[in-house]
Amino acid sequence: MDPITTSTLCIGGIGLASAAALAVAEKYLSVPQDPRIGKVTEMLPGANCGGCGYAGCADYARAIVSGHAECNLCAPGGPACAQAIAAFLGRAAAAMERRVAIVLCCGDDTEALRRAAYNGITDCSAAQATAGGDKGCTYGCLGYGSCGRVCPVNAIRIVNGIAKVDKALCIACGKCVAACPRKLIKLVPAAAEIHVLCSSKDKGPAVKKVCGTGCIGCRICTKLADGAINMDGFLAVVDYAKPLTNEETVAKCPGHCIRKDAPASTPNS
């Protein structure tokens, strides 16, 4: 037989044999799986971000179908996805609101001092471990981008030496919250627009020595916020369970650390 015929028969034969083997395996060796798992996996966004606490969307789908997990743990999917899955499985969907991450610090390099010149790994935990970090304020954002590097959707940029989350892109997976060595990043409702962008627990004079825009603990905002802002020592903290709409809090803050988010289409500034 000439080489071409031999080759064709060989390769074709191997192909047919493999197909037959696969068919047999599919019939006799397949692992039974609840078909709903596949459907739920398709309904999930497929970002595999791990924000739900499971190892990827397929793993979360398995947990939902087997009843180990609620339908509303997927932040990227949001309420629409949670309701769709609940409807598909015939369950009641718990309420869910969109959340976003926010960096509670506005002391960038135009306002906050650096107390040393840092030379080392461009990583916030590494900087923190070196003489306590190079920022004058020991609570403020170091700006070396560890949060941005773990963000699966690139929602964090470093602007003037501090991190800023783009509200529109954030999927609230929580990876940045874990990455920040100073625990500055919090997950807050996306609907909330007024925030106290400071985490310094120092007294007013100490804050002013190292940052021009820190919270000095004057309490003016607590009086204007109708219970939505409370004091934690010398730091004003927003209680996101209560509504906060009084823009006077922004205007009257002497440190200018209470800011209102820019309108939805632009990143928060």
Binding site: R115, A116, N119, G120, I121, T122, D123, S125, A126, A129, T130, A131, G132, G133, D134, T138
Partner: protein
């Protein structure tokens, strides 16, 4: 009593420029008592001490101002008489903050000694150990491990060799060197006390061969000491002063991985710690001051200052004629393992033996270059690790890949980064990796 060259030396190590001539000839000078002392509560390894004084209290020199908080901890005593004016947080050399007792020193000094044990040879070891603990003696070679704990090994770990660490392998530092020259007799008594407590058979005084005058001084001091005593001359190599490496150089024994010197029957104590033991047992003095070498090319008059704990670095610098030109880096300790500090408002403690001020000429920045696999770090590592591979794993956040490469065995001596042509921050990577591993282990302990 004999002087023997060390029979072994550890593999690896580096030979940095030592620059000890700057301060080696300066006799120990007592710092005039500062007006204010900020005495840290954390001058040792373990839990910070708990203050037992309040603002407004008058204290005598040597009086207990903070008690040990647990087994691995040590008490703190007032370095001088005065009034407690504040209990506040202070910056420490490592960058963390800790509580401190601030004392305004009195012009008239009053001293409150502890009990003494002149007949220590006939005193029960347990009594001596408790006394040493009550005197706040901790390891003065840098780690600050409470000496009381080190001198109480469990009964299934008998100690046969006490090694006195006079290596002082860090460049620039000379405080141990001067102690050996000027207080050899007291160090000898301290060493004998330690040997007596542990019931050890052998005593070795380990000194590097770049200090011939110290070797001679210690030879003379230990001349008529009974028992198996010898001065072991070590080949000068950094880090010869590292416990594990020194035990190997002196005895040929390797401390097992994850183990302690007592696992191979040895205890290593710094010569200054031996002096502190003598001071506590014979003179009833708690550990409240130490010799610090203030040196570098950015200090006017390098010196070996005997300073009370709680002296601010700014006071030390002033006592040495101030800075000479601009200091680019101020380091607490030696250049290989010391901490770079961000300000001079840091108080001294029992452990840091040096303050190094370096000008911009002596600084070498780390870079973010990739590893070129030259293998110099592998040759230099005294623990025989592979820093090249470890740092590449950690840089890529592959901690699972780094741990089996013996990441946790790294002693952070800095030999690898010293030789790296790509100027990689290798020790920084190691520390980062170790922090992640320890956090994971702690988290694993919490979840069942």
């Amino acid at each position: 009593m004999a002087t023997i060259p060390s029979p072994h030396t550890f593999r690896g190590g580096i030979h940095p420029a030592y620059n000890k001539a700057l301060a080696a000839a300066a006799p120990i000078r007592e710092l005039p008592l500062p007006a204010r002392l900020t005495v840290p509560m954390s001058q040792h390894l373990g839990a910070p001490a708990k203050p037992v004084v309040k603002v407004g209290d008058t204290v005598a020199g040597g009086q207990l101002i903070a008690e040990a908080a647990g087994f691995i901890s040590a008490p703190v005593h007032a370095p001088a008489a005065g009034k407690v004016v504040a209990l506040e947080e202070t910056l420490t050399a490592s960058g963390r903050t800790c509580a401190a007792v601030v004392i305004e020193t009195a012009p008239e000094q009053v001293w409150q000694p502890l009990p003494t044990f002149p007949e220590w040879r006939f005193t029960d070891a347990k009594q001596l150990i408790d006394h040493i603990g009550a005197a706040g003696v901790v390891g003065m070679g840098g780690a600050g491990f409470p000496t009381r704990v080190k001198l109480s090994p469990p009964s299934d770990k008998p100690i046969d060799t006490v090694i006195l660490n006079g290596a002082e392998c860090e460049p620039y530092l000379t405080s141990d060197h001067r102690m050996m020259l000027e207080h050899a007799a007291e160090i000898r008594i301290g060493a004998e006390i330690i040997r007596h407590i542990l019931g050890a058979r052998s005593l070795r005084i380990a000194i590097e061969d770049n200090k011939p005058d110290a070797i001679a001084a210690m030879e003379k001091a230990f001349q008529d000491t009974d028992g198996d005593v010898a001065v072991t001359v070590l080949r000068t190599s950094y880090p010869q002063g590292s416990e594990k490496q020194q035990i190997f150089s002196v005895t040929g024994r390797e401390v097992p991985r994850g183990g302690l010197p007592m696992d191979v029957g040895c205890v290593v104590e710094n010569v200054s710690t031996a002096f502190a033991v003598f001071d506590a047992v014979v003179n009833g003095r708690p550990l409240v001051r130490r010799v610090i070498t203030v040196t570098g090319d950015a200090i006017t008059q390098p010196a070996n200052l005997l300073a009370p704990c709680g002296t601010l670095y700014s006071d030390l610098v002033a006592a040495c004629g101030g800075m000479a030109g601009q200091a680019a880096k101020v380091i607490s300790g030696g250049p290989m393992m010391g901490f770079a500090v961000s300000s001079l408002a840091v108080p001294t403690g029992k452990t840091a033996s040096g303050l190094l001020l370096l000008s911009p000429k002596k600084i070498s920045d780390f870079s973010s270059q990739a590893c070129i696999a030259c293998g110099r770090c592998v040759d230099a590592c005294p623990m025989r690790l592979s820093p090249a591979e470890l740092s590449q794993c950690i840089e890529a956040d592959d901690i699972d890949g780094a741990e089996p490469l013996a990441l946790m065995d790294c002693i952070e001596c800095g030999s690898c980064a010293f030789v790296c042509p790509a100027r990689r921050p290798l020790v920084h990577h190691m520390r980062r990796g170790k922090t992640v591993v320890m956090a994971r282990r702690a988290a694993a302990k919490k979840t069942p």
